[in-house]
């Protein structure tokens, strides 16, 4: 390099490459962050959709169980769970257990709805001495 060129640009040699590299890094970082945002957003949306589907399916199961007599709840629980699971494409599990508290007895119905591994919705229903209560 001649003396006069070094006088013209004494401190700027290679600065264009550095600036270009910085721009590329900034753009790549923004693109990467945006891709992750889009992915996580889509995953959260899908999870919320599954949660709503699970809630509706559990409410459907509770609605079906309301038409079952209290003394037949235990034996019809699996049948209702299977029926709702097939129609709603959600894994439904119905658990019934008798309870007695402060002189009040009844049946506690627990409906678990699991459309995927990360989403699980549980609803409870109680039958107290022949009357219905949710």
């Amino acid at each position: 390099m001649s003396a006069h060129q070094s006088n013209r640009r004494p401190d700027r040699r290679g600065s264009l490459v550095v600036e270009a590299a910085i721009v590329v890094i900034l753009l790549a970082t923004a693109a990467f962050a945006l891709t992750r945002l889009a992915r996580s957003s889509a995953a959260l949306n899908r999870q919320a959709d599954q949660r709503l589907a699970a809630t509706l399916a559990a409410e459907n199961a509770v609605d079906h169980l309301r038409n079952v007599a209290a003394d037949q709840l235990a034996e019809k629980a699996d049948q209702v769970a299977k029926q709702v699971s097939e129609s709603n494409q959600v894994d439904i599990k119905v658990v019934t257990d008798e309870f007695e508290l402060n002189g009040t007895s009844g049946i506690h119905v627990r409906v678990e709805s699991t459309p995927s591994e990360v989403v699980k919705v549980t609803l409870h229903d109680w039958r107290i001495n022949g009357s219905d209560s949710e």
Binding site: H4, E19, V23, A38, S41, N45, A48, A54, H64, S87
Partner: protein, 161 residues
């Protein structure tokens, strides 16, 4: 051609430097606009989905209550809209009639309450995405299928009669 003497200081920018700087700024501006548009699009989609879920939850509660207390359910055999619910004198909505109808143009499910052919109330369940709710009515059950998707479970509202 103008020459610089050794030891002299050069002021200003060459045309190539100006053009290079403008090109870099242009690339940055275009990228920023694209990124901003993409982020806005994600936000709009999230908001639409959130509103749809809220609407379906609100609809589910009212629809279940209506069908449970209805004395008679009238619907065409092929399950098309509208759905007509009649109430008798013993229910809370005595002598009322509730009509659910899907409006394809506005993408909304409308609920109209009538008594003696007079409009008492009107409610609109607005959907933002391209849903096509459909009905399945049997003697034992009324089913409103709001959304059917291949990748997630359907949104079904089943009410026993």
């Amino acid at each position: 051609m103008k020459c610089f003497r050794p030891g002299s200081v050069r002021y200003g920018l060459t045309l190539i430097e100006v053009l290079g700087t403008l090109a870099v700024l242009l690339v940055l501006a275009v990228s920023a606009v694209h990124i901003l548009g993409y982020v806005t699009q994600i936000g709009v989609q999230n908001n639409d989905s959130w509103q749809d879920r809220n609407t379906v939850q609100r609809l589910a509660g009212i629809f279940r209550s209506d069908v449970r207390s209805a004395a008679d359910v009238n619907n065409s055999d092929d399950g098309t809209w509208p759905l007509n619910l009649m109430f008798d004198e013993q229910s809370d909505q005595s002598d009322q009639e509730v009509l659910y109808d899907w409006d394809e143009k506005t993408l909304s499910l409308n609920r109209l309450v009538k008594q003696n052919n007079e409009r008492l109330a009107f409610e609109r369940f607005q959907f933002s995405n391209r849903f096509t709710p459909r009905l399945e009515v049997t003697d034992q059950m009324v089913t409103l299928i709001v959304k059917e998707s291949t990748d997630t479970a359907p949104w079904r509202i089943e009410v026993s009669r």
